[in-house]
């Protein structure tokens, strides 16, 4: 089970959520700034490319600011914000009808791994998986990313995806089945 990535500022603990909802731009900026790296990943995954992800996050930020009335400040900020990011990305013309081109950075020679897990995972394995993800739908990529990139719980995923928890489970299960199928399809048989 991957570790959660949503550490750090939690809107409910710091009171940032309440202040942001009350119109405190600094508090809102702190929240958005903290979640920006993850928001860029979500936008990139749905778009299928890093190109334009920053525009999407900017647009989502503006929409979130305008729509703060719908944010429940006693809930984590990330699921609500990522839902807006995902919707903006889905509606972006760059996400329509194009094959995904997600990419991963290679580990630099001699560089220290970012985590103990990364130290034992080969660049080739990451490349295989991301290429398989590129052949999935944006919906499948998103549900996989929310669970495995961002470490979100099913409850938070349900909020981001605006569906029931049972639907989250089934969508994630189907997405993983399709991912495995794509991974198997790329395997080269022995000579």
């Amino acid at each position: 089970m991957s570790s959660a990535r949503t550490g750090g500022i939690e809107a409910s603990k710091e009171g940032l959520g309440e202040r942001a909802r009350a119109g405190d731009a600094d508090a809102f900026g702190d929240l958005v700034g903290h979640h920006r790296p993850a928001a860029l990943r979500v936008a990139t995954v749905v778009l299928g490319t890093a190109e334009g992800a920053d525009d999407v996050v900017q647009q989502a930020t503006e929409r979130a600011w305008r729509g703060l009335a719908s944010y429940q400040s006693d809930r984590p900020f990330a699921p609500w914000f990522f839902r807006i990011v995902a919707n903006c990305a889905r509606n972006d013309r760059r996400s329509r009808g194009r094959r995904a081109r997600l990419a991963v950075r290679a580990t630099e020679t001699g560089a220290t791994a970012t985590s103990a897990e990364d130290a034992v995972i080969a660049d080739e394995d990451r490349r295989r998986v991301v290429e398989a993800m590129n052949r999935l739908s944006s919906g499948d990529r998103l549900v996989i990313a929310l669970r495995h990139f961002e470490g979100m719980t099913e409850i938070d995923m349900a909020e981001s995806l605006h569906c029931r928890i049972g639907t989250v489970k089934s969508r994630l299960s189907r997405a993983m089945v399709r991912l495995r199928a794509e991974l198997q399809a790329t395997e080269v048989p022995d000579a």
């Binding site: 089970m1 119109g23 731009a25 900026g29 958005v32 990364d118 990139f149 470490g151 991974l183």
Partner: protein, 238 residues
Amino acid sequence: MPEQFRDQQLEAVLASVGRHLVVPTGSAPVALGQPGATTRRPARFALLVAAALAVLVLVAGAVVTPVREAVADWLGIGSTSIEQVRGPAGNPRGLPPLAAEAVPIRAAAARAELGRALPMVHDRRLGRPTLRALPREGGVLMVWPRGKTTLWVHRDAGESAIFVKKLYNLQRQVTPIRGLGELAALIDGRHVLETPARRVAAGRVLIWVAGGLEYRLESDLSRVAMLEIARSVTAPAR
């Protein structure tokens, strides 16, 4: 042959992919107005929209051509999410239509609801709507007897306002449409419209986003007729 990933291995690799995913770097300036107010879109976005509109103008005159591309099992049009589901979730049997419980309103009330004058439909086969009404979900619903046609218009306030789902069962039931508004799709056949308030039955529906408004045209008329009606819609500037 590359080793197949066991479950835990695949999860670990996925987490690692997330940490190594190539994304844009650097921070973007965020200019915010008052919360809840409509802000001007960044100039760059306006240029993109203008460019897209320019392309549409160049190909205008041709019949709006549905794009027969593969539709993912999940599509978003403004604040409407279109999802393929299995079983009863997508079965509209026994559900009321959207117009059920809608309250008739006058033009002034319609203007107040939308924040501007009501869009006009210039299609001769429909004529003037016989009814303007306020559905439970907000926005304005216009009704014509011809083809049991309704046009639901509401503000494109994104995710903070209405967030509705169109749930359908059959594959290939949804067709993205190019050349209509900023984004459009046709949903063929009976399906379910799920709103925060209720579930309603829906037939053939064309939805699109344009000029800060979201449109939902439902009718028994043909697809071509619906596209022509949609193209005839004009909305006054804000």
